[in-house]
């Protein structure tokens, strides 16, 4: 098929997504679309987000109208150059319809998360893609692999990408009783051995950023590059309102208030997101494990782990921060040594990889490419 015609398809956000609802078109038929332009809004049971066009072109035909639901991978619209004939566009759509049946079959073949035994630890790992230097995505405090819903697929287009649940998070067991970042980093290094990872790109968010830094400190030879998103461990300020509130919240309303601090625009949150965090916190052993982590992370409302010196320019590093971050302020990215790339995103709070997913994906993809030289 000519690359003068591009398919806009239903994205797949996370392993459980099988279909999505086209909540709104942000451009009409006939509009000229730039690469990276927001083109539509997609809603799933779990989350709503805008989708950006990967390629430039004229929006020639909308196949799925607003309000309709379509399976993952289904053709939603067609982009094509001006001089592509209508009949070629129609033929493209027809050829897609022929492939529609195979998308359903793919759903069963979708990669499944597995539990990987690594020494004393049992990690949940979801691996996508193949080849290249592998990347390991490490979520933040109280989160899980679902953090990378909008990122793993894209990053896995040209390499193997492992999304892990840290011990005592998601579906990984609480095997690091101390809660120390260095011990969590040690556990992740044991996972490297179990997954046969010589060297990896580490992409860490918040606490996961501190874990990535601690791995780089302990075993720099195992780290190809660092991508740190609103990382802990490089400054002192952190929102005690958030951390203490997260530990204390046992019900929907207080938890919703706490979680809304994560986002520049909390409208994107839904009840299911709050419910899932509560479900995690209600597991036996989790509150104790979270409290242990916090006891080593903070004292008197300030961060006590200082890994800033790890960012000395020897390991290629990218730091991404949302300007509207209410958990760890973006100005902690000021004054880093030359050679550390810093990107501050205006529209994002503490969760840029969700709030500005396409930008983060572009930045990280470029960084990984550069770091492999």
């Amino acid at each position: 098929m000519s690359d003068r015609i591009q398919a806009i398809t239903m994205p797949k956000w996370g392993m459980t997504m099988t279909e999505g609802k086209l909540a709104g078109w942000l451009a009409g038929e006939g509009a000229d679309i730039a690469a990276g332009q927001e083109i539509m809004e997609v809603e799933t049971e779990k989350i709503t987000n805008v989708v950006e066009s990967q390629a430039p072109g004229r929006l020639r035909k909308i196949v799925v109208s607003e309000g309709a639901t379509a399976p993952v991978g289904a053709l939603l619209a067609v982009l094509a150059a001006e001089d592509v004939s209508d009949s070629d566009v129609e033929a493209f759509i027809a050829s897609y319809a022929d492939r529609a049946g195979s998308a359903a079959a793919d759903a069963d073949d979708a990669p499944k998360a597995r539990i990987v035994q690594a020494g004393a630890h049992r990690f949940k790992v979801l691996s996508l893609g193949s080849g290249g230097v592998p990347a390991v995505l490490i979520h933040g405090f109280g989160g899980d692999g679902g953090t990378w819903l909008f990122n793993q697929d894209t990053l896995a287009q040209n390499r193997l990408v492992h999304v892990i649940d840290l011990p005592a998070h998601g579906d990984s067991e609480p095997t690091v009783p101390s809660g120390k970042v260095a011990d969590i980093a040690g556990a992740v290094l044991e996972l490297f051995a179990a997954l046969d990872i010589e060297k990896a790109h580490l992409i860490g968010h918040s606490l996961g950023g501190a874990v990535a830094l601690a791995i780089a400190q302990a075993s720099p030879q195992r780290v190809q590059s660092l991508s740190l998103i609103a990382p802990a461990g490089i400054g002192s300020e952190i929102s005690a309102l958030y951390i203490d509130g997260f530990l204390a919240a046992e019900r929907r309303k207080p938890m919703k208030e706490v979680l809304s601090l994560l986002f520049a625009d909390p409208q994107g949150m839904n009840a299911e997101m709050v419910e899932n965090v509560l479900r995690f916190k209600r597991l036996d052993g989790v509150p104790e494990a979270l409290a242990a982590i916090v006891s080593h992370l903070m004292a008197d409302g300030k961060q006590v782990i200082d890994l800033r010196a790890v960012l000395d320019g020897k390991i290629p590093a990218l730091v991404i921060w949302g300007e509207a971050d209410q958990i760890i302020p973006a100005n902690q990215s000021d004054g880093l040594p030359a050679g550390i790339d810093v990107a501050r995103l205006a529209g994002a709070g503490h969760m840029p990889m969700m709030e500005e997913a396409a930008q983060v994906n572009r930045l990280v993809t470029a960084h990984l490419g550069k770091a492999e030289g």
């Binding site: 579906d171 046992e250 019900r251 929907r252 839904n270 419910e275 479900r279 209600r282 597991l283």
Partner: protein, 338 residues
């Protein structure tokens, strides 16, 4: 996460708590099975198979078959709870609790109050409820409003395998008597359930689905019909919130009122009979405390004021369904003040 049945979720909850706390015991008719006969032990696991495997894991001292005398073993369980044990008594059908009203209403529910807070009663009474299995009028009632009425009792009605496990663990760890009601049609329904132990707190409603046009409040099996109705209505452009209170006592009034205020239209689905039922109770709370937000009368979809019929066609007509719920929502949405 693993997919498990409602029955398996309850069984896991019992295993977790019996392992965690040696004071937890299980008693009831055939909860072990084979007692007093030459038959195989642990043959049954209760009339609905929920306690299967407990006898082998925890032995006959903690998994006790009882005679067919609900009044005796519910009374024994209430007394045992006061001594420090945490009994889980299984009653085949909630309909049979009628013979234990004194033990439940006058004894278990009152101990904490009559002994000045010095006695606690960590008792769980599990029973099935609900129509739809051709079990006729003495084995099909939804009697939760009766227990909800009595102060000192907590009343739990799970709708999903996830909630069933977390609410049962919470019930066993709770220091008050809990009436835990399982809709027998739900035992083979399947959903995501974590392998580990976890709790679901009492008095917190679950927002099953969010939509701005109307709130459908439903309990137990009715939650599934409410979801079905919401799907039908979504295709018509009517977006519904589905709210599952999960426990009728305590009742999450805050979330009920919040959703009533957000949507302005409320439809309450109740498998119980209409007089003095949960639909009547919840609608009175909303009418009293959120009247100003209402855009339409509160609609109730309930069983009729009759015993559950045995004839299959009549029994089907007796139970609220998605069509009746969707009709009630459409009526609320179409309502105009004259």
């Amino acid at each position: 996460m693993a997919q498990k049945s409602f029955r398996q979720a309850l069984n896991e909850a019992l295993h977790h708590e019996m392992r965690r706390d040696p004071n937890v015991i299980v008693l009831g008719e055939d909860v072990a099975g084979g007692s007093g006969a030459s038959g195989q032990k642990d043959a049954w696991g209760g009339a609905f198979g929920v306690t299967k495997g407990l006898l082998g894991a925890f032995g006959p001292a903690r998994v006790r078959d009882t005679p067919i005398t609900e009044s005796a073993f519910v009374g024994a369980a209430a007394g045992a709870a006061m001594t420090g044990l945490r009994p889980v008594a299984e009653i085949m059908f909630v309909d049979f609790l009628g013979v234990c009203f004194d033990q439940i209403f006058n004894q278990a529910a009152k101990f904490r109050y009559m002994f000045g807070g010095k006695a606690v009663t960590p008792l769980v009474i599990r029973a099935t409820y609900g129509a739809g299995t051709r079990s006729a009028s003495q084995h099909s009632q939804a009697l939760y409003p009766i227990f909800t009425h009595v102060p000192g009792l907590k009343v739990v009605i799970p709708s999903s395998p996830y909630d069933a496990k977390g609410l049962l663990i919470q019930a066993i760890r709770d220091n008050d008597p809990v009436i835990f009601l399982e809709n027998k049609v739900l035992y083979d329904t399947v959903g995501e359930v974590p392998d580990g132990a976890y709790t679901v707190p009492f008095g917190e409603a679950h927002i099953v689905r969010e939509g701005g046009d109307a709130t459908i409040v439903a309990l137990g099996r009715m939650v599934h019909f409410a979801r079905e109705a919401a799907e039908i209505l979504a295709a018509e452009g009517i977006d519904c919130t589905v709210l599952d209170p999960r426990t009728t006592s305590p009742l999450d009034e805050d979330t009920l009122l919040e959703m009533a205020e957000e949507t302005g239209r409320v439809v309450i689905v109740d498998e119980a009979n209409p007089r003095c039922g949960m639909a009547a109770d919840i609608s009175s709370i909303i009418a009293e405390k959120a009247f100003g937000a209402l855009k339409a009368p509160i609609m109730k979809v309930t069983a009729p004021h009759t015993p559950v019929p045995y004839a299959p066609n009549l029994e089907a007509a007796y139970i609220p369904d998605a069509k009746r719920i969707a009709d009630a929502v459409r009526k609320a949405v179409a309502f105009k003040r004259s």
